[in-house]
Assembly symmetry: C2
Homo-oligomer: 205 residues x 2
């Protein structure tokens, strides 16, 4: 049966390991595609334009907002990040499952603009471990580190707004759990209305 | 984390193969337990009391109704079938996942009495195949066969009331799909309130 693709939103507090989990998942599952966001922030070491992000100017970003071409966008630590709506919708219509790795601000917007998405929140194994991961990252100034720690605290509480929570204790285990969620979501009645309708018609003949 | 068990309701039209799928699933997954129903009908060849059903008299069945000890009960083809409530709740409280294989009448009742259950509807690969399976069963008189075919037609439409649909094309594939649903359901936010709460408290310290 040819189904519309799933938009799988992987989110969670700053430092929980969203990026690592998504990269591992994409390596494992050849049928998944990732949504590449636009951002106005500078590339970090090793990041490539068009792969990790589309790096754009603030002016270009504002133009995309004006064009209505964001499924979500947010300003985080003084930089803009956004998910191009048309690119994602095109992949979904072609039956591809799309992974969206985004911060909690963005995820809350997608719950409004694309409620049929699958919303997964990654939890750290413990509060102490979350702190460790943020500190170890080491790409932060003291000031942004402080901001990030404070944000992470309030972000964990947003888990209640999602559909699923996954404890990110081991990357492979997290990937397996996401795979099970994707498989299960494809069987939800609301995603199989046409299949059921066709069978009801056939049985009634 | 010690979670409350899941009540997994496997249902679908007469003849779709609920029993075969559930037996295969129980063989594969040692952590699942099955709820044994009470019934007033006569045992079929090979059926054992306490394994397939508890075979009881109509008087005993009425007493259990009076005692409020049914999660659901129904009268199908002039016989009573019911799921003992206390036995199931005891297993769930002990963290066991319980499989309930029931007809659509029973499942609709459980949606009322135990809405936190997981409701899965098995679909036949086609209307013709459903008819084949009912006819091949061969345990029916001409009259009950007619009744069963008519019932199956109206039952397929009830799929819309469930959470998940699975096409029962191959038994092993159906079992795999049910396993994915069980795994995913354990990650649902509503089933992890305590885990999230504990982490929110810890992070806030």
């Amino acid at each position: 049966m040819s189904q519309h693709g799933l938009l799988i939103v992987i989110s969670g507090p700053s430092g929980v390991g969203k990026g690592t989990v998504c990269q591992a998942l994409l390596k494992q599952k050849a049928d998944l595609v990732v949504s590449v966001s636009k951002t106005t922030r500078q590339p970090r070491a090793g990041e490539k334009d068009g792969v990790n992000y589309f790096f754009v100017t603030p002016e270009e970003f504002q133009q995309s907002i004006a064009d209505g071409d964001f499924l979500e966008y947010a300003c985080v630590y003084d930089h803009y990040y956004g998910t191009p709506r048309r690119a994602v919708e095109k992949m979904l219509a072609a039956g591809r499952d799309v992974i969206l790795e985004i911060d909690t601000q963005g995820a809350l917007q997608v719950m409004q603009t694309y409620p049929q998405g699958v919303f997964i929140f990654l939890l750290p194994p413990s509060g102490a471990e979350l702190r460790n991961r943020i500190v170890k990252r080491g790409t932060e100034t003291q000031e942004t580190l402080k901001k990030r720690l404070a944000a992470a605290k309030s972000e964990v509480e947003l888990a209640y707004k999602y559909q699923y929570v996954i404890v990110n204790d081991r990357v492979e285990a997290a990937c397996e759990r996401i795979s099970a969620i994707i498989k299960a979501e494809k069987m939800r009645v609301m995603r199989n209305q046409e299949l059921i309708k066709a069978l009801v018609e056939e049985v009634k003949e």
